[in-house]
């Protein structure tokens, strides 16, 4: 990757240091140990099952449907949710989990035989992916980390995991394995922070998605589905 440019930094930062009454610092600052850390007490000691219960109750407040299933029933559950949204076209990530969770027959045979168009994100064809996503009725991704407190799925982008799969289609479905649940955003932040500390690159886009798009800009009335999806469903896979 070519390094970017930095303009006018020295004078700018020197001004700040001067106003703060000291010399400029480019090293030697460590974060203090924060005196208060209330974020760790949320759902402390909860089991994965407890977290799922908390998550479900939060979802009723964020206009998001929840379906619970097991890995062997996942394809059937997904089929039903998509049918409920009026069928295809469907766009999904290119994510090995679709294969691992036994969804290939559905994506490659069943849906196409029912005339439901399926597009799996394919970096090789570039812009065409976006055209497809824009016309899609349903976008489907897995959750990489799931936050029980807020009812949030966390998505890490990559070349196979396009950002717009969760934004451009009319509706959005996230498949949420039980193993991805953590209490709240704190645990996700620590996970990412530790990656950075180890010198690993982080994805160019990390999305924390909590239900469908909405706005209250017109007389404070809630309108669901403004720019992004109008409806959302989370499918929890209880044995993975």
């Amino acid at each position: 990757m070519t390094t970017g440019t930095i303009h006018h930094r020295d004078k700018f930062l020197q001004t700040i240091a001067k106003k703060l009454g000291r010399n400029q610092r480019t090293t030697g600052v460590t974060r203090p140990h924060w005196k208060h850390q209330p974020q760790w007490s949320v759902f402390k000691g909860f089991s994965q099952d407890d977290l799922i219960e908390a998550f479900k109750s939060q979802c009723s407040r964020i206009h998001t449907d929840v379906v619970e299933t097991t890995a062997d029933q996942l394809a059937a559950a997904l089929k039903q949710v998509v049918a409920g949204y009026g069928g295809g076209p469907v766009v999904t990530w290119d994510d090995p989990r679709f294969v691992e969770y036994g969804l290939s027959p559905l994506l490659q045979e069943e849906w196409p035989s029912e005339k439901i168009d399926v597009h799996v994100w394919n970096a090789a064809i570039g812009q065409k992916n976006i055209e497809f996503a824009e016309k899609a009725n349903v976008g489907i991704t897995f959750s990489d980390i799931t936050l029980a407190e807020s009812g949030t799925v966390v998505l890490f982008s990559s070349s196979g995991k396009g950002r717009t799969v969760s934004f451009l289609p009319q509706t959005y479905v996230a498949i949420v394995p039980k193993s991805t649940f953590v209490p709240r955003m704190t645990q996700a932040a620590v996970f990412i922070h530790e990656r950075i500390e180890k010198g690993e690159p982080i994805p160019s886009c990390i999305n924390f998605i909590t239900g469908p798009s909405n706005s209250a800009d017109i007389e404070m009335n809630l309108v669901v589905g403004v720019h992004g999806p109008i409806k959302a469903t989370y499918i929890i896979v209880k044995d993975r």
Binding site: S157, I209, S213, V226
Partner: protein
């Protein structure tokens, strides 16, 4: 839109605000909803005071070491292939952004909500360079197509407009044919804006929090517009006030939690997006080129002064939502894009006392703002300090406290009344609920009794709100 909005004198603006009955009702209703939602969200956590203490600690440490964290941020942005421009002034920022846009030969620009780009008055610069600039936040979009009507609230910019007015604007400007139903209006905007995202050359965003350790920027929305603004155009330009930064993901997380709870009473908004550099190699969406513009524009002059703590602000508007003066006069009266208590503290610091010397008097010093602030900025003390500075520098106040109260239509006795009211149960903060003393008031309270003739829509709206509230956690 520059930071300074409106043309009339302070007193005229206030008069206009007080006599706009829809606006007053809307403001009261919105305040009530947002304030209650915030209190409920805080209560749910159980240890809100600890959260606030943590928020304050993080913001203080970051400001004390701001040069260090900005250094780290810029290094990490560049490592990921992004470009960083440090702009001392609004002009420098605008010039750089215009140069990028011209170099890209851009014709169409989509923007997600950003206070700082309004503060530096970016849009006219881009328009003069031949670009069409489209605001995509629904509230901002409504204001923009209505011939750049100024915003009246930091979080809900079109608060002062009712749905019939919005329908009429859509009819006049967008060839809209449907009703004033908010869902139909929003759907129309969805279709129009979709095309804009797909055809824009450049996306411009603000920044809720930059993350120094990774060179990332964090965007917080409910609509998801910032995601499309950054995913589709080939070039992304993000503009941030220099203080909007945290050390690591761990602090970002805490401040986002404080922001969403304080702003709209949600645990998290629908979309929290953390972007690092341009798209990765092999990515299909996301920008090919990323520019981060870090703006001082008067902020460094606040550092090291007794007003430094105002830079802790995370723009949640909790202080606005509890302010009895804002409730009474509305956002436009402040004559600044930054309204409410935070606006009354910040506007004179960024825009100078000449334009904003009355604002520190637009307060009853009741301290409700200070109590609401999630990062513990002592707002009412800073307002008091402003008054001292003004008196010292100018030898006299621009407007006596008594006159100020009168200008707000509050009457001379109401300062004490408000102080009392805000210390009591929340319902006592509503000026309409203390009506015995006010509606019978003689002489100095006349302005109040006139206003009192209007229906008090706050209560009605509260019921609506409560009804919606039971339906969900979203920004209802």
């Amino acid at each position: 839109m520059p930071m300074k909005i409106g043309t009339g004198e302070f007193k005229e603006r206030v008069d206009k605000g007080i006599h706009n009955s829809f606006m007053r009702g809307a403001v009261a209703g919105a305040q009530e909803r947002l304030r209650t939602r915030r209190l409920e969200a805080a209560e749910e956590l159980g240890n809100w005071e600890e959260w606030r203490a943590l928020g304050e600690e993080i913001r203080k440490h970051t400001l004390e070491n701001l040069d260090y964290y900005l250094w780290q941020l810029s290094e990490n942005v560049a490592k990921r292939g992004g470009h960083v421009f440090f702009a001392q002034t609004a002009e420098e920022a605008n010039e750089y952004i215009r140069d990028v846009v011209v170099k890209k030969n851009a014709k169409k620009i989509v923007k997600s909500k950003s206070m700082v780009t309004e503060e530096i008055n970016l849009n006219p610069v881009l328009e003069a360079a031949g670009c069409e600039v489209i605001e995509t936040d629904l509230g901002e979009y409504i204001l923009q197509i209505d011939d750049h009507d100024p915003p009246s609230h930091i979080v809900a910019p079109a608060l002062h407009k009712n749905k019939e007015q919005i329908r009429d604007v859509f009819k006049a400007k967008l060839n809209y044919k449907k009703t004033e139903n908010p869902e139909e209006l929003a759907l129309h905007a969805r279709h129009t804006l979709r095309q804009a995202y797909l055809t824009a050359d450049v996306g411009i965003t603000g920044c809720n929090f930059a993350i120094a350790e990774s060179g990332s920027i964090t965007l917080v929305t409910n609509e998801g517009n910032a995601d499309l603004v950054t995913a589709l155009p080939k070039t992304q330009i993000t503009v941030m006030g220099m203080e909007r930064i945290v050390p690591t993901f761990e602090e970002m997380e805490v401040l986002v939690s404080l922001l969403t709870r304080s702003a709209v009473g949600q645990k998290l908004t629908s979309y929290i997006t953390v972007l690092t550099g341009p798209r990765d190699q092999g990515d299909v969406d996301g920008p090919e080129e990323f520019h981060l513009v870090i703006v001082d524009n008067g902020r460094s002059n606040i550092l090291g002064t007794e007003f430094q703590s105002v830079l802790q602000c995370i723009r949640c508007a909790a202080c606005v939502n509890v302010c009895p003066v804002y409730r009474h006069i509305g956002g436009h009266s402040y004559g600044s894009i930054y309204s409410g208590p935070i606006g009354a503290v910040l506007s004179p610091l960024l825009g100078g006392y000449d334009d904003y010397k009355e604002l520190p008097y637009a307060s009853t010093l009741c301290a409700a703002c200070t109590e609401a602030c999630p990062v513990k900025i002592p707002l009412h003390e800073l307002l008091h300090k402003h008054r001292q500075v003004i008196v010292e520098r100018e030898g006299k106040a621009p407007i006596s406290e008594k006159l100020a109260m009168k200008a707000f239509g509050l009457g001379a006795a109401s300062s004490a009344l408000y102080k009392l009211g805000s210390k009591l149960a929340p319902s006592a903060m509503n000026p309409f609920t203390v009506n015995n003393r006010i509606s019978n008031g003689p002489g100095p309270l006349k302005a109040w009794t006139e206003i009192r003739e209007f229906p008090a829509p706050g209560k009605e709206r509260f019921r609506d709100w409560f009804h919606n509230r039971q339906k969900g956690d979203h920004q209802s």
